[in-house]
Symmetry: C2
Subunit: 326 residues, 2 copies
């Protein structure tokens, strides 16, 4: 069984050997740029880990699937960055900033197609149509999640249920789908496929809640992003939605005011909002919610019928992204 | 055998029964809007016609494939209209004008995925992976063609060969691919699949050359677009590229000047350019080139091993789009 470092190396090599080499250069250069910006390679690792649980001797056969989910993820980043008007991604200019919107739209499109092309190089023809169908569903749901996220910016009545559904679609289904596709490719039993998919979906929700927590309560050095970014941008995160619900009438009223305009003094706004969050005890509420989803996730992982040590990598990956204490 | 009117009815009904009904509405409404703007339904008709040649009794089974190429075509229009900043499509506001760029990007994305979803509802599992691979190649090439088209706007050294390659990718491969997929789905022999694909590819180039001709020399009422639009927008069409090559030094120099800036007086520019084109005899040169590709196309159609009457619909469709005289 390969460990995470070995799996990552396998992935990086495969990705390098399968970079975009076709013409026109103007179309494929931005795609390679995006793929090479780095990142945790979480999704392709999940696909490999799931495959390795059931069919370790043929691990290399899963690489096209791992590559598919990584290309797809990067496609969503290219298009989301246009939509969010984000200038920086992983410390570098985003594609639409470095080139322009048109290039980012079209390179993104061809990446989405390339994700399908990679999938079709999977050798086991008998499993291909099912894999394509799962990938279709996941891809569609990610788009639906992104649309919900954009809708929420305009809406004043977002419920916590709505929010959880949005992050499930936008983030969690792709983590679940990566595991699901890896398991299907490795001939796993239906029950194991489902449990791994559910594990990924719940852990994905936990990841996003953790991200919400760290955005306000994290350590800037470790988080890698500015603390308070969500607050400055009036993002309707779990923290805000829960605070509006749990706070006193006065706290809710003040939060509504603070979130109704772009702040003149960003630091003052971050401080005041964080103060209200602390008074309400939002950190612990959010951490409890995160742990609820993490526990649900591990409940499904326990049901997977492989030796406990085979599950070790998923525990390790989870620990990398979610730490119990912070 | 169904005639074109019957095939069109079959398509329209299928499309209506398979409109986008999922949530969020904000994502799928623009997709339905685009699909319902009309158009000639050329690509899905080609898929049905090709299928009907070989397997007329099961024609309905080809509908998912026809729907796939129509959704894909509409996806390209949604994204191309953003890139070209086009306000009007088929007499109605384009998606990014009626909604906004972000909506057009994301709705387009989900349409591309929906094209794959439609394809995967094709019943014959044994042929599915080949169909997906053909569709992947076609979809990728269309993106490459669009990028080449955008590149040409910036380039001063576009050759006629470059131009023909660009329109082949941007327009013709999807026509060829629609026929190819229809024929594959209907268990056609390899030779027939190839000949139909080549027919579509060459006829697609002829269509585009005809479009270039009509844009300058057409009848505004019949053409449905403003005459001279390509000239006003400095588009490097076959007409211009050939005129630059065939004209005298003075004519080429004057064309270069006229095409180097946006005109103050559009009508005067259209008149002067058209005058030069006429002096060089560009209309007849372009018509001869168009006919060369049309003849190549029909050469391949002749090779297809079905009764001549089965090919009648393709002759009919070609006549609808290309008239010998105008």
């Amino acid at each position: 069984m390969k460990n995470l470092t070995e799996l990552r190396k396998l992935l990086e090599d495969y990705q390098e050997n399968n970079s975009f080499t076709r013409a026109p250069r103007e179309l494929y250069e931005p795609a390679n740029y995006m793929m090479n910006l780095g990142g945790k390679r979480l999704r392709p690792l999940l696909a490999l880990v799931a495959y390795q649980m059931f069919r370790p001797s043929y691990l290399r056969e899963a690489l096209p699937i791992a590559h598919t989910v990584e290309i797809f993820h990067n496609f969503t980043l290219v298009h989301d960055d246009i939509m969010d008007d984000a200038p920086i991604r992983r410390g570098k200019p985003t594609v639409h900033t470095k080139w322009n919107d048109n290039t980012a739209i079209l390179s993104g499109d061809v990446m989405l197609i390339a994700a399908y092309e990679s999938l079709m190089t999977f050798k086991d023809e008998g499993r291909l149509s099912r894999l394509v169908r799962v990938f279709n569903r996941v891809a569609r749901e990610v788009c639906e999640g992104q649309q919900m996220d954009m809708n929420f910016e305009q809406r004043g009545d977002v419920s916590i249920e709505d929010y959880l559904h949005m992050i499930e679609l936008k983030t969690a289904v792709l983590l679940g789908g990566s595991l699901e596709m890896g398991a299907i490719a490795a001939h796993a039993k239906e029950k194991d496929v489902t449990n791994l998919s559910e594990f990924g979906r719940y852990i994905g929700i936990a990841f996003q809640l953790q991200d919400d927590i760290l955005d306000t309560f994290g350590d800037a050095d470790k988080f890698g992003k500015r603390i308070g970014g969500d607050i400055v941008q009036n993002k309707k995160t779990f923290l805000l939605l829960k605070a509006m619900k749990e706070g006193t009438g006065q706290q809710s009223k003040r939060l509504r005011e603070l979130y109704s305009e772009m702040p003149a003094d960003e630091e003052a706004k971050i401080e005041e909002v964080t103060h209200i969050f602390r008074d309400i005890g939002i950190h612990d509420i959010a951490a409890a919610e995160r742990d609820k989803f993490r526990d649900k996730a591990f409940g499904h992982l326990e049901e997977v019928q492989v030796a406990e040590e085979e599950k070790g990598l998923l525990h390790e990956m989870t620990d990398l992204v979610i730490t119990r204490e912070h």
